[in-house]
Amino acid sequence: MITEPFEYHSPTTLEEAWQAMAETGADGKIVAGGHSLIPIMKLRLASPKYLIDIGRIEELRNIREEDGRIEIGALATHYQIEASDLLKRLCPLLPETASEIGDVQVRNKGTIGGSLAHADPAADWPAAILALEAEIEARSARGSRSIKAADYFLDLMTTALQPDEILTSIRVRAMPPHTGQAYLKLHHPASGYAMVGVAACVTLTESGAVAKAAVGLTGAGAKAVRAVAVEEVLSGKSPTNHKLDEAAAVAAQGLELNSDLYASAEYRGHLARVYTRRALAKAVERARGASSLQPVAVQG
């Protein structure tokens, strides 16, 4: 499998990248880690005439925190996130999600920005990004803008990014006190993609009721979605087993579910419910175990 010929650009600043994008227009394509794009190029299902490799724009590689706001550069690799002590402390959902992506080699090279820009319907990040209510920073020569996770995923491999924009970073808030997070998925036995993946963030009140629940669902349909109905059932309620069941029951509500060789739409709907239930339960358990000073650590 060999790609079609292309011209290669390797900007070291965003400005250079924008310029290359402007010059190449629709014939150009940005590549970061390459783990979404290069396989498709090798199949010749994508054959950009110009490849703009943003992998050398060092400023996009950092993970940093300021006043409880965490910024993850688009070029941060899945492994970088998986191994980040900062994130394990402040937003453990991200390392936990990262650890479920592909395999070690893929995590070493693949980037969060690349994955989100590609928006594969079975990718893991979208679930976490939605559950964390992250903001996606898109920058172009025109300026920068922040896109809410909920507004970002439009359709199958289609995002709110404009053709001249580069996804530069993802911003999330540090996990508030009494919060638990969890990401669970059923792996496709070959590709490792999520047949269904569920990210849950649950914040409890002092009395143990659900102050806020946020659930992101990937793999089920053409794009990742926020399971709003699930969240509504839980909001303000005590997360009893019964309540979690009730909430999970509506996980697949209103979704147009995918169906493929490995899982029918009906089964995916079922998985969405089961995994939502399990992710919620795990998040609640962690929230209960977490004190305000010491957010829960991710379990292996």
Partner: protein, 173 residues
Amino acid sequence: MADGKRALTGTVERREIPALKIRINLNGKWRDDDVEPRLLLVHYLRDVAGLTGTHIGCESSICGACTVLVNGDAVKACTMFAVQANGAEITTVEGLATNGKLHPLQQGFWEEHGLQCGFCTPGMIVAAHQLLKRNPHPTREEIRKGLQGNLCRCTGYQHIVKAVEWAVENKEQ
């Protein structure tokens, strides 16, 4: 509306693409080459640099036969262009032995019969190398997870796990 400039076959007309200069530190030695941008790193290693120990198994970044270390990180060389590795330090299976002495992992694979046809072995050893760098004392479970990106059709993996354990126990040898 029709854009007359486009080829209709879905493929781009072949154009003359200038070769690019790349400089790569391969197993400790710098080398300079002119490469076509689309040249995959694995083909660069095998066909240009003549290091055929790195193999091509699946071409879809699943099997890991092409695993090499790029700046110390295990990556699948079939899913990376050589130009992307410009300036990088690359270690292939050929670069693991030092002064003719096998790396403990290589020795472990030999001692514990961690290979049969040997085709997946270089990638498997490089992936195991990465694993032990990050986790010097992995459990069996962790070894298996650490090698999730490497397929072997011959061994059933058990002797590979033992090979990695051998390397852990005999690191200093």
